[in-house]
């Protein structure tokens, strides 16, 4: 029984109540993934499971046996920031930094969703590939709350990220 977290295997916890979030933060001492509400309302705990975004607070760790989890700590390569991390710094997409890991993980998956052509609630056409517009980004990021008010910078960073072809 093992969960792959940022490429390393970890034992599934014996206590079935342990969420993926508490496994990361408490058991494994990887607190980059944040706990803002523990009930799926704020998005601070967003991680990727096999490339798709989920809320780690609503996920029981035991369900993720054999799955591959990527957290904020697994995004940068050694000394260099992931392109989206660098864009968050450049566009000042945060203040306190607590919602930031969730915003970034959510946006990494968002780009994949654009590339797959997945529509959102504001996409006018379910068949056509969605436009990479601010309205689409804001809709797709509305599950990640920020209280400091860095929203404009966050969307600026993500807009730059999803429009870059070379990444």
């Amino acid at each position: 029984m093992a969960i792959s977290i940022n490429g390393q295997p970890y034992d599934v916890p014996k206590d079935a109540r342990v969420s993926l979030l508490d496994l990361l933060r408490d058991t494994l001492d990887r607190p980059g993934t944040k706990k803002g509400c523990n009930q799926g309302a704020c998005g601070a705990c967003t991680v990727l499971v096999d490339g798709e975004r989920i809320l780690a607070c609503l996920a029981l760790a035991a369900q993720y046996d054999g799955r591959s989890v990527t957290t904020i700590e697994g995004l940068a390569r050694d000394d260099s920031l992931h392109p989206l991390q660098a864009l968050f710094v450049e566009h000042d997409g945060f203040q306190c930094g607590y919602c930031t890991p969730g915003q970034i993980m959510s946006a990494v998956a968002l780009r994949e969703e654009f590339e797959r052509g997945s529509p959102s609630g504001v996409s006018p056409d379910l068949q056509a590939s969605p436009e990479r517009s601010r309205a689409e980004i804001k809709e797709r990021m509305s599950g990640n709350l920020c209280r400091c008010g860095a929203h404009n910078g966050i969307i600026d960073a993500i807009a730059a990220y999803v429009s870059e072809d070379s990444l």
Binding site: G32, G36, A41, L81, F94, C96, G97, C148, G149
Partner: protein
Amino acid sequence: MTQPSDKRSVPNADNGLKLNRRTMLAGSAATIAVAALSGAATAEPAPGLSDARDPLVRSPGGLGAARPRRDGPLKVRGEARFAAEHTFPGMVYGALVFSTIARGTIRAIDTEAAQAAPGVVFIMTHENAPQLAPPEPFYSSPTGMAGSSLPVMQDASVHWNGQPVAVVLAATQEEADHAASLVSVAYDAADAVTSFEAATAGAEVAKYAGRDLQYVAGDAEAALAEAAVSVDLEFSTPRQNHNQIEPHAVTVAWQDGILRMHDCTQGVDLSAITIAKVFGIAPSDVHLTAEFVGGGLGGKTLWQYHILAAAAARLAERPVRMTLSREGVYRICGGRAPTRQRIALGAGSDGRLTALIHTGTTVKIAHNAMTEPFIDASEHMYRADAMHLEVRVGTMDMLANTFMRAPGSAVGTFPLETALDELAEKLGIDPVELRIRNEPDKDPTTGKAFSQRAVVEAYREGARRFGWQRRSGKRLGRREGEWLVGTGMASAYYPYKRFPGGAARITLTSDGKALVEVAAAEMGMGTSTATAAVAAERLGLAYEDVDVRYGDNTLPGSLIAAGSQQTAAIGASLTAAHAALVAELAALVPEGAALHGQPAEALTTLDRSLVLAANPAERISFADLLARSGRTSISAEAKAPPPAEAKEWSMHSTGAVFCEVKVNAITGELRISRISGVYDCGRILNEKLAASQFRGGIIMSLSMAMMENTHFDERNGRIMNPSLAAYYMPAHLDVPEIDVAWTGIPDPHAPTGARGIGEIGMNGPSAAVANAIYDATGQRIRDLPITLDKLM
């Protein structure tokens, strides 16, 4: 007078002013709007500017540059560790049990089942809690940092619905939470005051920050009755909660007699002093750090959970991590109190105010010193022949209300600025013009001269950026399909403050670098980034060569990130520490070297050197000075002088906010489509960070207008929506792109010319939204939040 002659600086005061004029209104969107200014009201220097001795006021050098946050890479990597993310060997997890009555006593508390639950290490109730002194709340003593003075778990009494009645420590958070659910408590309930009406019957004039919240000049009621045009309006604002995304948390350990705390606090030193007094230990026996705080907004102070975690840790002899659940934050960390306000304005047909009445009531608890001072904008924004301003307060059995971003003025500017809009309509005068006609030439209530004030320029520039259409008593709103579109404006106001207690230490090292140390707090404002920039300019070092340590109570000073004043307090501390450092350096100058024998007052620092202020060509480099005196470093520490400037001058920041709203004619849905804010806050120290501060305040004010509401059950005093799922605040889709700009005119009496920017954004947008809704729909909504049911 000292003058830097750095090539980036300007050599005299006159040129300095021209530079300021050229750089003013540098907008966040990199738009330099210079030509826009029409006959600006304060092209003349404010009184005293020519005498200002701080060279940085006139020659800011690299200040203002849009530098990215120093802690940015750590935060985006998820490597910034917050309070609940530190560990100690043997650490256990805490969970709290909250009372379910508003007032009364605990008849019995049964912890047997919890004690037997897996993983449980220790349970603390009033029956075994240690004896503790009551904490000192803010404004009750110079060092008070607590939310209330209620004793913590000292007897069986219950003072609010949600009070902690038991602490459970267990090996894991899951085990602690489960065991807490097994604690059973029986209460004897007593009569409680839990309704606003009951609490404010017989309410008395409030005292706040050492004064009565009351100002009377002339007979305002008589002037109102005689006024050619008048409005007399009632408003209400609800309870609100901070909802910092980081829930309050602390990780504590007692190590060799030292209480070690990893905390989230807006004042590391004051939190340490306050908890030291509770435990009867010396403040030096507390080591409290808070390098990263996940949002403060006024609410990250010292609450009961800190004390309970430390007490339980001591009894259990185990380190404790206490992370409040989101519900826990609502139960024990207070928010903004509700208000009911009256604004009555009387004016002549020329629009000049003859009467300004702003009165109302709010509630607090008996055990704090915090009344929402909602009249402060009315005290300082407009002239009027007669005034009556007054806050009355009653006490209620509830969780302590507390400071929340722009306490007082956030909820006070909403009615003031809405009433002005209504008056402007009745007068047939454009709302911007009405405000300009009532611009005071000195402080309306204190009579003091303004240290610097350019709100008229902010109105004009805001109107230009937004494309404001002048109006004269008629709505200009239009319909686009099913959307009703309207525009509105309001003024912004926030006082200048600088709390006592600032201090800083500067250490220069022989490698040409400096370390600045201040016991300041950082919860997202960019404290280390701004501090490094100011210190670099003052020291004559490159920005990259200045390191900043903060967030640790063992560092100098008692700084607090509150009241938008920490930057001013740090600025004054750096000025003092710099002067002390220059004196230390002067004493090192060897005989025969340049500058030998010069008094320290004649010297300053520039280009990594100690220089003669009057002739900077006469200099000796720091490296030389240290090498020739056989040292590898030199350090100086000094305290900031008391904040005399705010006693001498009327000091406050102002601004103008313009917005466009769309209201759906069918569903009542409200959208903010455009908004511009222009601020007059003195010098801007970092354009990037400042834009984010302004926007953050604006977003919270839009949110206050549209959605925020802590539902309080007046039958039992319990908060009914203690959850981010049921307390609404903006998501990305709710937030428009926000245009912000500033005058950038330095305040000659504020340290480094900067007055503070953290809260003013909060004041004005809510009224601008309400005024725009009227323009769009013809409906005046005077009770916040303006939810869609009120627009149907």
